[in-house]
Amino acid sequence: MNAPTKKGSGTVAKSPLFERMEKHRRRAGRVRDDVVVLAHGGGGKAMQDLIDDLVVRELGRDNALLETREDQARLPLEALTAKGDRLAFTTDSYVVSPLEFPGADIGKLAVNGTINDLAVGGATPLYLSCGLILEEGLPIATLRRILRSMGKAAREAGVHIVTGDTKVVARGAADGCFINTAGVGVIAEGRDVSSGKVDEEDVILVNGYLGDHGAAILVARGELQLDSDIPSDCAALHTLTDALTSAVDVHAMRDVTRGGLAAVLNELALGSEVGIVVDEHALPVRTEVKGFCEVLGLDPIHLANEGKVAVAVPASQAAEALAVMKAHPLGERASIIGRCRAEPPGVVTLDTGFGGERILDVLVGEQLPRIC
């Protein structure tokens, strides 16, 4: 832009109309549409309004870093190094259908899911990004609820959403709303939790009922004409994992998500080349979820969760780990569900209670698509 001439700038700037207009131009934008339109991703005024009115308003509360509106978040290193000696960095995309379901929605899921990916590495989660891919036609009210829920989940977990991006695609090119969140956390010095560190003397614990999220999503889709009020277990696990790693020598942790407990245990068994025996009767599963699985021919051990963690600790510290879990609000139903052994390495088996043992493998295909 050319610099205005002395004469022009002098006279216009003093005009009350100009000042009023400029003040107005600097007001936070408002979205007046009822639904998302392509212009909301177009880089112009409509996009600015959407970011002001929805993203910053809902995510930016008590969040100075997002308010600065730079193209990148600038994170002070000093605050990070004070907490530990390694950064943990992860990303996850959320495409769950439906967008809202009992117990959570895609927004809460996108915050807690990424927090959990950091937490199970022993990290303290600190910062998240938020990439939104919106489909033309998504009701603004729905988007607002999702973002409000994201903001709430982040505040409750004590993490900040510090940078983001919004794109809009034509109707049919996405399904309502997809969210990507990346997360940064710090791992305290000396903490070393890894799926390669499970020992043949370890026991495995989980922090509560399995399969709630998968069941909630299936019911919420309404395709099966099943009635139930099982809520998703979507929750941020970092305070629980922190309490555990502070109290006992945690060898490995994994959040139990898609593929269920079976997938996680197989990862641990293969990662550490140990055998794992699961006691089927020790698995915490709600009666409703059990019944639901019987009807549909599913197995709770393969169902998705969003607030569960599987932990490997030395057998000598099992009781202590269980007590720490049970003392936490997210671990009231915690249970020791299995033990490790040397043979056969990399294989997870299930003790059925009949004296029979069977292999517990991962599912080949999808049990349910678009669960998170």
């Binding site: 019944g291 059925t352 029979g356 292999i359 080949v364």
Partner: protein, 393 residues
């Protein structure tokens, strides 16, 4: 969970197992018992029952998994129908991965066909009503267990005047199959654990030829572990006493006369085909069902041009021998190497009720433990392509 946990009580299970061991010792010769139904195969493996059988009792896993016996040619026909523009092809989930000669339904779906998983034919009819400009085809699969619900749905479609709904019938019937099996491999088998949910529809009388003509005991059984153990106990009791009777263990579900209303619907809508192909077993006369003339408008085979070619099973596949009980799944040349649930060659590896998939998923341990020499002998050396590590997510 009520009405389920009672039938999974390990204490009672142990008592039954002791009884089974006593009877097996008393009979004192190698015994082969066939569970006809895939649901039993699944239960046996899910609860690890096979490993608990006495040494001289061998469980043979029969052909009662409808997905497993679906021949390649019929999968190709299904894909051909699904590839018609404007068709919504509705199927039970198990059939999605069954390999055709070129692709499975899952492959066709990925290429853009509108293939949807349903839990019931009624769901498919609902799609037809909701989307009247589409042609909805339901993949009719299964024995007498599922056929009545297909029949009732066809009747409902007729009553409602729904014209964009049809059924690609691959429904099959158990009795001719049992007979074919007894004729070809009968001497191998000492007794049967009979199908539970099929019998809920057809009752007990149709099995009488098994005892009369072939002198084999058959006990209709439920699907919980205690059901299966009790049925095995009952079969062994008959063998020990030198008897061959039709007995009913599953009395809480199966009535002697079956379900007359379901049978009536089935007979009203369906009739026997003169022959039908089974994967691995070849053609069995009067074993398949097609829609009767008054319901021909709902017959997808009449509505769409389907290739109807009989396609040979892949050479390496020994599903037929497995289905007849002549081979144990792990004795097949390609078991667990070229043929896995991920890349199935034969359909026994596809469905969770298939003997091979059950062995692969649940039973490998018993193979590892008890049959190391057999495993080593039957497993070909891995080809270079098998050795590549699986990609991380």
């Amino acid at each position: 969970m009520k009405f389920v946990d009672e039938f999974r009580d390990p204490k009672l299970g142990k008592q039954l197992l002791q009884g089974i061991a006593r009877l097996a010792a008393e009979i004192d010769r190698p015994l082969k018992l066939m569970e006809v139904c895939g649901g039993h195969t699944h239960a046996i493996f899910r609860f690890g029952l096979e490993a608990l059988m006495p040494d001289n009792v061998d469980l043979v896993h029969g052909p009662g998994c409808p997905v497993c016996v679906l021949p390649v040619g019929r999968v190709d026909d299904a894909v051909a129908i699904a590839e018609h523009p404007n068709v919504v092809f509705a199927t039970y989930g198990d059939a999605m991965r069954v390999p055709g000669s070129k692709k499975s339904l899952l492959g066709a779906k990925a290429e853009g066909c509108d293939i949807r998983t349903v839990y019931s034919p009624v769901d498919a009819l609902a799609i037809a009503q909701a989307e009247p400009d589409k042609e909805v085809v339901f993949f009719g699969l299964g024995f007498e267990t599922t056929t009545p619900s297909t029949a009732l749905t066809v009747k409902q479609a007729a009553a409602l005047g729904v014209t964009n709904f049809s059924v690609f019938s691959n429904h099959i019937t158990i009795v001719p199959t049992l007979k074919a099996l007894l004729d070809s491999a009968g001497e191998n088998i000492d007794g049967f654990v009979g199908p539970g949910h099929v019998s809920m529809v057809i009752g007990l009388q149709p099995y009488e030829f098994v005892t009369r003509d072939y002198r084999k005991p058959i006990v209709v059984s439920g699907f919980e572990p205690l059901d299966v153990l009790q049925a095995i106990h009952m079969v062994l009791t008959q063998i020990a006493a030198g008897e061959a009777k039709v007995e009913n263990q599953y009395t809480r579900v199966v009535r002697e006369g079956g379900n007359p209303m379901a049978l009536q619907a089935l007979l009203e809508v369906f009739e026997l085909r003169s022959y039908f192909e089974w994967r691995g077993l070849g053609t069995i006369n009067h074993s398949g069902l097609q829609l009767r003339e008054p319901y021909a408008a709902f017959d997808a085979e009449k509505r769409f041009a389907v290739p109807q070619l009989s396609v040979a099973d892949p050479k390496a596949c020994q599903c037929g021998e497995v289905l007849k009980g002549a081979l144990k799944p792990w004795e097949c040349k390609v078991f667990g190497t070229a043929c896995t649930p991920e890349t199935p060659i034969g359909s026994c590896m596809v469905s969770s009720e298939g003997a091979c998939a059950a062995y692969y998923n649940y039973g490998r341990l018993s193979v590892l433990k008890s049959k190391p020499e057999a495993k080593a002998a039957t497993r070909p050396a891995p080809r270079p392509s098998d050795e590549q590590p699986e990609a991380a997510e």
